[in-house]
Amino acid sequence: MKKFLNTPEAFVDEMLDGIYRAHPQVTHTAGDLRCYVTANPVPGKVGIVTGGGSGHLPTFLGYVGDGMIDGCAVGGVFQSPSSDQILEVTKHVDQGAGVLYLYGNYTGDIMNFDMAGELAELEDIATATVVGNDDVASSVVGEEHKRRGVAGIFFLYKAAGAAAAQMLPLTEVARITDKARARTRTMGVALSPCIVPEVGRPGFQIGENEMEIGMGIHGEPGISREPLQPADTVVDKMMERIFAETDYKTGDEVAVLINGLGATPLEELYILYRRVAILMEERGVTIRHRWLGEFATSMEMAGASISVLHLDDELEPLIAAPVSTPFFTHVGG
């Protein structure tokens, strides 16, 4: 295991200590480094709280900041935060307008957010929940509620954050976020495994010339393991699954996210994007917004994912809105 760390046990907390030392824009509450909150709360605004396992930077905590979300309960590597921690973050970010819980579809997280929501209710904090489930590979059409949440949650944070920044009420923020959720699809492909520090060895093996299409960000198995193919072919296979369950029409607009899983060079992400742009062009679909880089990683896993949000007139300006967090800046437009 080749990682820059001191001890596997201290991995998450020393990372957080580094983040707080680097970025005065964020802080923590309840005396717990893992209860991560914005230092610039907006009075009267709906709070947005996320949470989940560590090991996916900038997901999840990286989206806490101006114009995006307000707090994040930080779990151990690939582990849910506790309901107590979620509750503490909830109490801290609540500005009287209630709190949206927005996180990925994993059993541990669901159970802990549910528990936290029950506890928050006892403290008279209203909560609503939207659970990201964009990973097309993880279940079939009709069983979307079983799908995992992966990089596409970025769009949900963006939409939710912009809606909340407009001072909309909780129900509206939740409705809009849920619409973004329903219109977001992601396909991933992995080339190498990653190592959870406390485990110390890879969670799975993959051959020197193999790729796994549809693999999850914790190494969950995908749709097919195949020999690595030319980049355009890989994109075609991934986009085929997305096109199969979306109804893009000529003139429609989308936002695209090309996400590196951790060890894939940015050069290669642009080669993937090129093909996505060609496929969209062929369909007469405009890529109105696009981001390339690392948005939801699996530590040192090699691979990439493609997320597409089908825009509409309500979502487009929210996705375009400016935001600034320590990990992600968008100047707007």
């Binding site: 935060p81 309901s83 107590d84 059993t107 159970m111 959870v196 969670g203 914790h218 190494g219 969950e220």
Partner: protein
């Protein structure tokens, strides 16, 4: 012989020891159709439960369960950690005020535990989860009036059979669900933890 709060205290040390010893085995088991964290979360969670109970020498039988549940929830908020936490907290509610822990209390505890897990996890029998072992444990204890060690021996046997039976199931929840048919043939990882839970309780009851 029914146990007192001084006796039940020994459960938590024994669980902590057992899950420390099983750390690598559970990592490997969860690694087959999951994310390899089960050995880490169970050893951490039960160590925290042991410490929480040890730090409260006055705590009664039910309170020990509450302390253990809270510690598990904080130290191991994974799927199984949270389910185990829920189970212990339900045990606490069901046995609140109990002075002894005999066969009747054990039956109450395991039934409450299983029901809590079922509600929290929303799994159904046959879904290849810890519930497929917890439920048979509770059923095995239902209405018995033999000594605790004997009753727990019967529950342990039932748990072992139930775990074997999970081999033929296909996982419907959590990370294992993605493996679908590949999960067939393997015992459920959470179910394996449940067997260990009841085995350790039996062993402690025997020694006392």
């Amino acid at each position: 012989m029914a146990l007192t709060a001084d006796h039940t205290r020994a459960f938590y040390t024994a669980w902590a020891d057992r899950f420390a010893a099983e750390r690598e085995a559970l990592i490997a088991l969860d690694g087959q159709v999951g994310d390899s964290d089960l050995g880490i979360t169970m050893s951490k969670g039960f160590a925290a439960a042991r410490d929480a109970v040890a730090a409260a020498p006055e705590a009664g039988i039910a309170e020990q369960m509450k302390l253990a549940g809270g510690a598990l929830a904080r130290a191991a908020p994974s799927t199984m950690g949270t389910l185990m936490a829920t189970g212990f907290l339900r045990g606490f509610k069901a046995l609140d005020g109990a002075d002894t822990f005999g066969t009747g209390q054990a039956a109450t505890f395991w039934r409450a535990f299983a029901e809590g897990v079922a509600q929290r996890g929303k799994a159904r029998p046959g879904d290849k989860t810890v519930l497929d072992v917890l439920d048979p444990i509770a059923t095995a204890l239902d209405g018995r009036d033999d000594p605790l060690a004997d009753a727990l021996e019967a529950a342990t046997v039932a748990a072992g059979h139930a775990l074997e039976a999970t081999r033929n199931m296909v996982a419907q929840h959590g990370k294992a669900a993605a493996f679908q048919e590949k999960s067939r043939g393997l015992p459920d990882a959470g179910g394996t933890v449940a067997v260990m839970l009841v085995e350790v309780m039996r062993d402690v009851a025997r020694q006392l």
